[in-house]
């Protein structure tokens, strides 16, 4: 099965609301399960703040692959206040379109009066910033999107 078939398969599964699918050729094994979770939970997810990335992000803010093309998300490793420049009035650490190197400071998260520099873990181009200067961010909240250098 090549990539295109898989992609088409996935599209079909999504389109047809198939929640599970298994296949195990030769000996043959197929399994399909349709439709939403067996029952709706009474408590929808808290809607107060943007959802954090699915997997708990370890402390150095490693980029997580996003759904869009092949962009990587840099998430906040801590709760605090986001700053895009080292001090008020000074230029921002990175601008959209900048190419950043591993270890380069992307932004600051202030927590308990401490300024925590968030560094890039991969080389890449800054495609989008997802929070504005001075905005509070929670753990795991996406901060910016990078297009990795191939």
């Amino acid at each position: 099965m090549d990539f295109e078939s898989i992609r088409k398969l996935i599209d079909t599964l999504i389109e047809k609301h198939i929640d599970e699918f298994e296949l195990e050729e030769e000996g043959r094994r197929i399994r399909i399960r349709r439709g939403g979770p067996p029952a709706a939970a009474p408590a929808p997810a808290p809607a107060t703040m943007a959802a954090a990335a699915g997997a708990p992000a370890p402390l150095a803010a490693p980029p997580t692959p996003t759904g869009e093309e092949d962009l990587l998300t840099v998430s906040s490793p801590i709760v605090g206040t986001y700053y895009e420049s080292p001090s008020p009035g000074s230029p921002e650490f990175v601008k959209i379109g900048d190419t950043v190197e591993v270890g380069q400071v992307l932004c600051i998260i202030e927590a308990m009066k401490l300024m925590n520099e968030i560094e890039a873990e991969t080389q890449g181009e800054v495609v989008r910033k997802l929070v504005t200067n001075g905005q509070p961010v929670e753990f795991g909240q996406p901060l910016l999107l990078l297009r990795p250098r191939k």
Partner: protein, 456 residues
């Protein structure tokens, strides 16, 4: 009054505090780990902030994360619940220095009464009865023999720096003393780098009795009666009740006065619990103080009608006890009605006691007259494996102990949890037990219900 409070906790107690705030018109901020994304405390707070990954050290115990969450949401105060940061004096200090009111006692009082050895000395100095024992560190084996002869065998020798049972020995007679003393000394020295030992009288098969107090920030203290929590397994309480059967009205009045006087001297503020051992003759001995809200506070609420969490918040807001509990400060205590029992429903196998995390696939919570459920569980909700196994507190109130027990039995019968194991069958066994029903309790009560361990 505070405009917004952050609750530095999860589960039923976070929900408990949210309820109190909602009723007082105070906005709430929940903090949650990524494992609790769909938890009810995050759902029902006005704001919810993710503070870290599932491991408590990186989220609920992470002081910078909690304080940052408080700062970015501009809260006036933090309620710590129980467990996690609730007895962490450093955390209370950080809150203070960040100009956020910590809803609990002052950090220095937390340190004094929260640390075992200092608390015993402090308790003694303010007139609380403590177990007979050595005056501090034993100089050597001969002093140990002398002290033991004075207070009477059996005794416990304990490592001063100790914990977790290391450097601890029960000594039943004079003959055993030399060998056990040196063994404890060696063990303590190896474990803690100090062989210092002290001695306390051993109370066999004691009952666990505790008194609830509230102190305001104007020097007034009141007690809310006692609870009996003798039904424990490995120092984990399983069932609590109020009032305690062996405490007569006269004894409650006498001990209440001693306790209120002691807490006034200590300068205790907000809610606290003083734990005692009761020996077979009915004497109480101070063991420790919990400088926070207790898991079992609802049994006190059910009999006194006092909303303890609201009282905590109003005290932290600087209000006086005489305004919070009008006309009751002068008499040291509040009026009580009937009898209340709490069963801690844990997500664990009721025979092996192994924790049981997972998805709750079916749920029926009991209700009706005299039944209170404090819980954050819901059908299709998930019990994460990272935290305490307590999933619900089932509390019943009746006109007397017999009715509270009958009500608890029918409520347990109607409490259905599918998908995870719970301690409900164990509670059903205990409630049906003749000794329990007759009130013949001690901290050894659960031994009969505990599986016999195979020793290698």
């Amino acid at each position: 009054m505070f405009k917004k409070i952050l609750i530095a906790n999860r589960g039923e107690i976070a929900l408990r505090v949210i309820c109190a705030c909602k009723e007082m018109g105070i906005k709430t901020v929940a903090v949650y780990s990524t494992a609790d994304r769909h938890a009810l405390h995050a759902r029902f707070a006005d704001e919810a902030i993710c503070i870290g990954p599932p491991r408590p050290g990186e989220s609920y115990l992470n002081v910078p994360a909690v304080v940052s969450a408080a700062e970015i949401t501009n809260v006036d105060a933090i309620h710590p619940g129980y467990g996690f940061l609730s007895e962490n004096a450093n955390f209370a200090e950080v809150c203070e220095s960040s100009r956020i009111k910590f809803i609990g006692p002052k950090p220095e009082v937390m340190r004094l009464m929260g640390e075992k050895e200092r608390a015993r000395e402090a308790a003694k100095s303010v007139g609380l009865p403590v177990l007979p024992g050595s005056d501090g560190i034993l100089a050597g084996e001969s002093e140990a023999m002398a002290v033991a002869a004075r207070i009477g065998y059996p005794v416990m020798i304990k490592a001063s720096a100790g914990g977790g049972g290391r450097g601890m020995r029960m000594v039943r007679s004079q003959e055993e003393m030399p060998g056990l003393f040196s063994a404890a000394q060696t063990e303590a020295a190896n474990a803690f780098g100090s062989g210092d030992l002290y001695m306390e009288k051993l109370v066999e098969r004691p009952r666990h009795i505790e008194f609830q107090v509230l102190g305001d920030e104007h020097g007034n203290v009141i007690h809310l009666g006692e609870r009996e929590c003798s039904v424990q397994r490995r120092h984990q309480k399983l069932i609590e009740e109020s009032p305690a059967m062996p405490i007569t009205a006269a004894y409650r009045k006498k001990m209440g006065a001693v306790i209120v006087a002691a807490m006034t001297k200590v300068g205790y503020t907000n809610a606290g619990t003083i734990e005692f051992l009761m020996d077979p003759s009915g004497e109480l001995y101070f063991i420790e103080m919990n400088t926070r809200l207790q898991v079992e506070h609802p049994v006190t609420e059910m009999v006194t009608g006092v909303d303890m969490v609201k009282a905590q918040i109003r005290i932290a807001n600087g209000e006086k006890l005489e305004d919070i509990l009008p006309g009751q400060v002068a008499q040291n205590t509040v009026a009580a009605r009937g009898h209340a029992i709490e069963c801690r429903i844990n997500a664990e196998n009721s025979e092996t006691f192994t924790p049981s995390a997972g998805k709750v696939t079916g749920l029926n919570l009991p209700g009706g007259i005299g039944v209170r459920v404090d819980s954050a569980v819901y059908a299709e909700g998930v019990i994460p494996p990272y935290y305490d196994s307590l999933i619900a507190k089932l509390i019943t109130h009746g006109n007397d102990r017999a009715e509270a027990i009958q009500r608890m039995q029918r409520a347990l019968d109607m409490f259905i949890v599918q998908g995870v194991d719970t301690s409900i069958p164990l509670h059903q066994k205990i409630l049906a037990d003749e000794d329990f029903r007759a009130g013949r309790l001690s901290t050894a009560f659960m031994d009969r219900f505990t599986p016999v361990k195979k020793r290698g």
